[in-house]
């Protein structure tokens, strides 16, 4: 019996591996067949959200420390990379390491302050520290150009030896970088979950006092969780900055961004390897559809609403502006009715379907 279960286990693991490889292979092939810059743009945004969500998940989902200040790491990574590139001609693939180093310093300072606090106090402290970073970037305009932001005009060509790898003029190189970073964060999460770290993180999340009594050095492991999480978030920030070519405090250091990062996880499924992927797949298209008024267009095209009617005019004029509101309502609905996120919901649905068939 034992051998039957092990062989079934390894077969399902093999199937999962095969499906994963095919998916990843397919994703790497996409730019060969898809030339629409908009489609690639959406994919890049999904990768970016995945990277941010997976990064936050290590600290928030696994370790249970609900940081609502991750924009600090994102922003410091983004600023460092762009400033080095623009003002010091340091190529971003080198600048990003400086960004990570800067973020680690910030993370250790934040950790030493905030990890003394628990629960809602930790949340508030994390918001406060990120706001301090935003205000600093706004006011230290000698270094950061303040609220005006920094336009990156000088992305250098990436050359290895004589060979020009990419000049960053199309979306394709960004697609591959985004995909690779997303896979990297998923791999890191997988490795964490399958190691002593993952056990210790989850123990701290479930019950800090119990974890402490069982030999877990709480500040040490919280800081390790934060360091991993912040490093990956800095990668996301650097990637974003080079892709968009512009950083300013109100985007890369905003509370809005911090909340977005958390939502990717909560909507997808917190504390799971693939939850943030699901969250990104759901939220990016949703937000794009709302922003571009695709919903109103859809209603008109399908003939449900006449664009010339009073309702049509109303929708045309207001739906796009209301996108934040609609987005918020949908998010609240998911949180209320799917406490384990979309991934948890899909899993339950799958289990029920299987049961129904059996």
């Amino acid at each position: 019996m034992a051998s039957a279960t092990t062989s079934r286990f390894s077969r399902s693991a093999l199937i999962k591996l095969a499906v994963g490889l095919v998916l990843v292979g397919g994703l790497f092939a996409v730019p060969r067949y898809v030339s629409s810059p908009y489609a690639l743009h959406i994919m890049i945004l999904i990768f970016l959200s995945t990277i941010m969500g997976e990064s936050w998940n290590i600290l928030g989902g696994y370790t249970g420390q609900y940081s609502v200040g991750h924009a600090a790491y994102f922003g410091v990574g983004a600023y460092t990379t762009v400033m080095l590139m623009q003002f010091r001609q340091v190529p971003p693939w080198i600048g990003v390491w400086a960004g990570i180093a800067a973020v680690l310093v910030v993370a250790l300072i934040i950790g030493s302050i905030c990890f003394r606090l628990r629960g809602p106090y930790f949340v508030l402290a994390s918001i406060a520290v990120a706001e301090i970073m935003r205000l600093s970037a706004t006011n230290l305009d000698k270094f950061t150009k303040g609220a005006e932001g920094i336009l990156a005009t000088e992305i250098p060509v990436f050359i290895i030896g004589e060979h020009v790898v990419t000049d960053f003029l199309t979306k394709v190189p960004f697609y591959y970088i985004g995909l690779s970073l997303a896979l990297l964060t998923i791999a890191v999460t997988w490795a964490v979950q399958h190691s002593k770290l993952g056990y210790y993180f989850q123990a701290i999340r479930e019950d800090q006092d119990a974890a402490h009594s069982l030999g877990i050095n709480i500040p040490l492991y919280k800081n390790i969780g934060l360091a991993i999480s912040a490093t990956l978030t800095a990668l996301a920030g650097s990637f974003y900055a080079i892709y968009v070519g512009f950083v300013d405090p109100s985007t890369v250091l905003s509370l809005d961004l911090s909340v977005q990062i958390v939502l990717v996880c909560i909507i997808g499924g917190i504390g799971t390897i693939y939850g943030p992927v699901v969250g990104a797949l759901a939220l990016v298209p949703l937000s794009e559809a709302l922003r571009s008024n695709a919903i109103a267009e859809g209603l008109f095209k399908s003939g449900i609403v006449d664009p010339a009617s009073a309702t049509g005019t109303f929708l045309k004029e207001n739906l796009a502006h209301a996108h934040v509101l609609i987005y918020g309502i949908l998010v609240v609905l998911v949180i209320l009715f799917m406490p384990e996120g979309l991934l948890g919901f899909l899993r339950k649905l799958g289990a029920r379907l299987k049961q129904g068939r059996a």
């Binding site: 002593k196 056990y199 479930e206 069982l214 030999g215 504390g271």
Partner: protein, 239 residues
């Protein structure tokens, strides 16, 4: 050899002395019973001993080493670990994962930790629940899980805080056997228990606390015939 020496330990919460000048010594390999009415300061003493807060006064010496100011995780690494009166399962982890967290105190390998965990789960009789979520267990099994988890840290001294509280007689009896079994493996234990009959049966020695102070100390026979103890208990709930 003394494994634990408590000397003149006091713990104040504001004006309240939860522990007041408590001293006693515990020999290795024994079961020390710690009894006293509700609010006597038993759990507070455990908290002081295991590093949850430093005692306001006095010293705690474990294996000849001064423990004051050491954090609970260091205390655990040194071989002293406690269970919780109000159980603290890692609810969203399975039973085996809970116990593995304890085992990881002595190893970095998940494989080794899993083997240790399965062994301790068997010791406490939870093998049929290995893959259940800890949060889904009834109270009796949660208490067993607490014990398996601390055993997995390979302690020399176990501090058990009312592991029989809220259990039915059959379940309590299982825990009694478990405690005696742990003693047979050479692990020292300090046991807080409310039920006098049980504590008399399992303890080699008993310390009685009342209103934060040590009322008396002695063998079970001595304690049960002590007039002050009888008064303290009759004054409360002993029927």
């Amino acid at each position: 050899m003394a494994i634990l020496e408590i000397s003149h330990v006091s713990k104040f919460f504001g004006g309240l002395a939860a522990n007041s000048d408590v001293s006693f010594t515990m020999e290795a390999g024994m079961i020390m019973g710690l009894i006293g009415p509700n609010g006597a300061g038993k759990t507070t003493l455990f908290n002081c001993i295991t590093g949850y807060y430093p005692p306001s006064k006095g010293e705690i010496i474990f294996k000849g080493r001064r423990m004051n100011g050491l954090q609970p995780d260091k205390v655990c690494k040194l071989g002293m670990v406690r269970t919780w009166q109000k159980v603290r399962p890692l609810a969203k982890l399975s039973v085996v994962d809970n116990v593995m967290v304890g085992a990881l105190c002595r190893t970095n390998s998940l494989k080794v930790a899993r083997a240790i965990a399965l062994e301790q789960i068997e010791v406490v009789g939870l093998s049929h629940k290995t893959d259940f979520l800890a949060g889904s267990l009834p109270i009796g099994e949660r208490k067993k899980l607490e014990v398996a988890r601390v055993l997995a840290t390979k302690p020399e001294l176990l501090l058990l805080d009312e592991v029989m509280g809220g259990l039915n007689p059959a379940e309590s009896e299982e825990i009694v056997r478990l405690i005696l079994d742990i003693k047979a493996r050479g692990v020292s234990q300090m046991v807080i228990e409310h039920d006098m009959k049980t504590i008399m049966r399992i303890s080699d020695r008993i310390v009685v606390l009342n209103s934060g102070e040590k009322l008396t100390e002695g063998s079970p026979e001595e304690v049960v015939h002590n007039q002050a103890v009888i008064d303290a208990y009759l004054g409360e709930s002993h029927a």
